[in-house]
Symmetry: C2
Subunit: 564 residues, 2 copies
């Protein structure tokens, strides 16, 4: 299914040139046509993947997938090029000749095995019914045992790169998924000449030549200081894993570089001119930074949805700042020439949804329906009527574990201060606050390590909640700016495409011309900030007690739960 | 409104003699006709108080009451005698001449000011519109400031009696309510020749002569080792409070003693013969012990409803065992000649109701309705399908504070171990478990102080939940017996009445003949008990961390909430 929108705040002119950003999400791809001169968004179109996320059965054979699997079909990605790009062009009223460049961003780590020419192994007839031949989506979590071994061994051997990832390589990333592939389907593994991020693969489909981008190579592919985990380490993991790195190796392109020109075939798919500049791949979160002009050190971008991803650049140089517990620290990982710091909170909007779906009684749901508002809006309205602390609650936002600072997925949520008078909107508010406190812990860790954070720029679905945004400003004592575009990742991809096309000398200058920001949309209120400080102090004490070994009850409960 | 039931499992005979127990609850009074020989329940009747609990406006004048007030009208108590007693007799098919004794039990501390002849001050025309002239029900909590001063001063002066009450006199009790009366309506205070528990007052109405019972005198009236708080202490509280004790003083009767014979007027009310033996007053929780044959040391009775009250006797002697944090330790407070220990959990069924009312989503409520079961039954069924610990949760049962062991009403509830997969029935189960763990803490404190607890006898509304009862057996590693009567307090009052009538030499022998118990209804399962031990260890660590100063966050949240 595709939908296209003509965006009304700008009109195309024959004199203008345009760039196209294609944002590959979890369930669909969106193409956005952007004017190169000022970033005006002329038209967009969304195409939903036919196979969505393959989690239960493989479509080709019906074969049942084990738990925690999440696959995709790469043909669905090509279809976005065939459907969404032409539709967005039509909606924008822009001619193919006016488009100077195209670029993509993607979920990550979303990775697939291909032949040396880029053919996905799942497209070979003999492998159609082999689950391991497909794309492993970012949320494929079945490589956890492999990730655990990768981490244990890295710490044992004191591998230098492990510190750049908060001491933990995720089960979502290239090495863990690659090791799972080797150990569970060695034939597919051996046939995989390339093990490639989907963002690089789709770019390859556009240009006919392989490229690798600095962002995924660093954040997902353990490329640090020009090197990857060495053979001795790989051999200790599994003797047959030696040589895995060769499936990844390729000269790494800086973000915003030209990957090549559009092939004749890709030109036919997209309706664009053959030879149109194509930018190297990028990642949805990271590409959002230039979309909101966050191209200088200190400007943190938070993509706030079911989870929150924080990206912020720090000064360039040979060594990054020493910040523990980040998801990743990558040279040029966000902006070429700067160290890119990525952090995250594994549960944010997810926590709010979990609570409202399961833990709010029928009367409140009925009241929301009667008023024609969402349960979130109703609870927010009720919560907003209280002063900070009036609910008497403090919560820890670990219902989905802790991704940054503590980097501990066995942690779980805590609520403290419940009384028989406690009402759902109060618990709801305490959960909102907990996520703000979690963000503050991350920012304070960055600052303590020497990474400046001067502005908090929010993007993503949660920015709609004004009460939440004001709360973040108050809790962080920091202005909260908002992304100006509702489709910031696609805008970011278009900015990169404009750079690849040579319309701007670099991403920062393109970002300032084309990016879109609502600066200081929320300013901290000193009185509320003082009140939140009291609650944050309690949060921090509980954070350390439950998260840093004061009481390992959450780990023990995790094991008791698992029946260990 | 009154309702009467003929109880079908026994038939009256002209040769039998009967005793009547009248159980005064918060909203109604119940009369029960019991055969003296074997405790068979022949008939009962309930009469609801016309004025129920007076919490908002005084009926006589419409005067608005302040928060935390809870009054009653003593005429409602007389009406129970006029309505429920004759109806119970009719339902039982028992003649007045066959009734040898009548006794009451009451909520406590429920207390009223009267003239020297027992006339309630609220029945004097000039005081009809004076709130302080009425009965203050047990749950009148507006004397908390006075209670705080009583406690602070007692500790400051190291008064010997304070230790007998877990270091804390409740705002519900006679001295706190009396001091509030003095300070807020000195005229009523000075006219109050007597300050008397409702259980003693209604007994006075039956006999025409004042008596005071050992149970309320000790648990609610601070009578210890024959003495009450002395004048120097009272003067330090408030110079005008000196002499308060005179409003209470009266020879104290042991439980089961004869208070007198039914007056002509009371005989007319009840339809009983003038001169019928009347027993001294008693309290609903304590009177339940003989109703379930718990008349020897070590047999704990737990009345499990919105809250739980635990009573257990220990050996007699000049000094009780040294158990910290009890609600009260009273010589002969449950059974004459034994030390009576009372403990409590301020929130039990209340916590379950709070959670199910407000924190369970519409789908589960709809499913329960469709199946024609309560939401409690549905959640219990779901919870029962899991093994102990499978939910990964531990909760502290302090949503209504902690009444015993910690004796701290500023504490609040904690839930630990929440994940995005946590479902309502899992939280529900963790709350059930928390109350079982809370009971275990009380029992272990008693044992540590030298008070044996060998059996747990449950009475009250929660005994209907078989899953909960089994959980208590497993958590406590102790057989759970059940009250055999659905109206155990009224049965207990009838047992005392039989003793007062001389049908038995003492309460224990009457209890063994008339009491009713389902022994060992639930036996601990060793495997589940082992699994619960792991969770209890976590409960205990959190109990001490949050309750004994490891982290005073609950107190600080209580103050932040109050805006201090």
């Amino acid at each position: 299914m595709s939908t296209a929108d003509k965006i009304v705040n700008a009109h195309s002119s024959d004199d203008d040139s345009y760039a196209i950003g294609v944002d590959y999400g979890t369930l669909s791809g969106r193409a956005l046509v952007v004017r190169v001169s000022d970033g005006a968004e002329l038209g967009s179109a969304v195409h939903e993947y036919e196979h969505a996320v393959i989690e239960r059965n493989l479509p080709a054979s019906g074969a049942k997938l084990p738990p925690d699997w999440a696959l995709q079909d790469p043909e669905d990605y090509r279809e976005v090029l065939r459907r969404a790009v032409p539709e967005a062009l039509r909606a924008a009223g822009v001619a193919a000749e006016q488009v100077v460049g195209i670029g993509v961003d993607f979920t990550a780590c979303t990775v697939l095995p291909t032949l040396a020419d880029g053919t996905p192994l799942c497209e070979l007839p003999e492998f159609r019914d082999r689950p391991h031949a497909y794309v492993k989506l970012w949320k494929h979590h079945a490589a956890q045992p492999q990730a655990d071994r990768i981490n244990d061994l890295a710490h044992e051997r004191e591998e230098p790169w492990i510190g750049r990832y908060g001491g933990k390589i995720s089960s979502e990333w290239e090495y863990a998924k690659g090791l799972q592939l080797l150990e569970e389907d060695p034939e597919i593994y051996s046939r995989a000449a390339r093990w490639i991020e989907a963002t690089d693969w789709i770019t390859w489909q556009l240009t006919g030549t392989e490229t690798r981008n600095a962002c995924t190579a660093g954040y997902k592919g353990i490329l640090q200081d020009g090197a990857r985990p060495n053979d001795a380490y790989l051999a200790a993991l599994n003797p047959d894993f030696v040589g895995f790195t060769a499936k990844l190796e390729h000269p790494v392109s800086p973000l915003g570089a030209r990957a090549g020109g559009l092939t004749k075939e890709a030109a036919e798919w997209t309706g664009l001119a053959e030879g149109t500049a194509v930018c190297v791949g990028n990642v949805d979160a990271h590409v959002t930074a230039p979309a909101v002009e966050a191209v200088e050190p200190g400007r943190m971008v938070a993509i706030m949805g079911t989870s929150t991803c924080h990206v912020v650049s720090g000064p360039g140089g040979t060594e990054p700042a020493d910040v523990a517990g980040m998801c990743g620290v990558v040279d040029g990982g966000i902006i070429a020439g700067l160290w890119g710091y990525e952090a995250g909170q594994s549960g944010v909007g997810d926590i709010f949804a979990w609570f409202t779906n399961d833990f709010v009684g029928p009367e409140l749901h009925a009241a929301a329906i009667e008023r024609g508002i969402t349960i979130h809006e109703l609870l927010t309205e009720q919560a907003e009527a209280q002063r900070p602390g009036e609910h008497g609650l403090v919560a820890l936002d670990w219902e989905s574990g802790n991704r940054s600072v503590l980097v501990d997925h066995a942690l779980s949520g805590v609520i403290v201060g419940l009384t028989l008078a406690t009402e759902p909107h109060e618990v709801y508010r305490s959960l909102l606050e907990a996520t703000a406190f979690g963000t503050r812990v991350i920012i304070e860790a960055l600052k303590a390590g020497g990474v400046e954070v001067t502005e908090y720029i929010a993007a993503g679905g949660l920015t709609k909640n004004a009460f939440l945004m004001q709360m973040y400003a108050d809790v962080l004592r920091c202005p909260v700016s908002l992304a100006g575009s509702a489709q910031a990742p696609a805008l970011g991809a278009a900015i990169h495409a404009a750079v690849a096309a040579g319309a701007y000398p670099d991403v920062p200058s393109a970002a300032h011309a084309m990016g879109s920001l609502i600066p200081n949309a929320y300013l901290p209120d000193p009185d509320r900030a003082d009140a939140y400080d009291l609650l944050f102090a309690e949060y921090l004490t509980l954070h350390d007690y439950f998260g840093r070994g004061g009481n390992d009850v959450l780990h023990r409960l995790h094991e008791i739960k698992a029946g260990k």
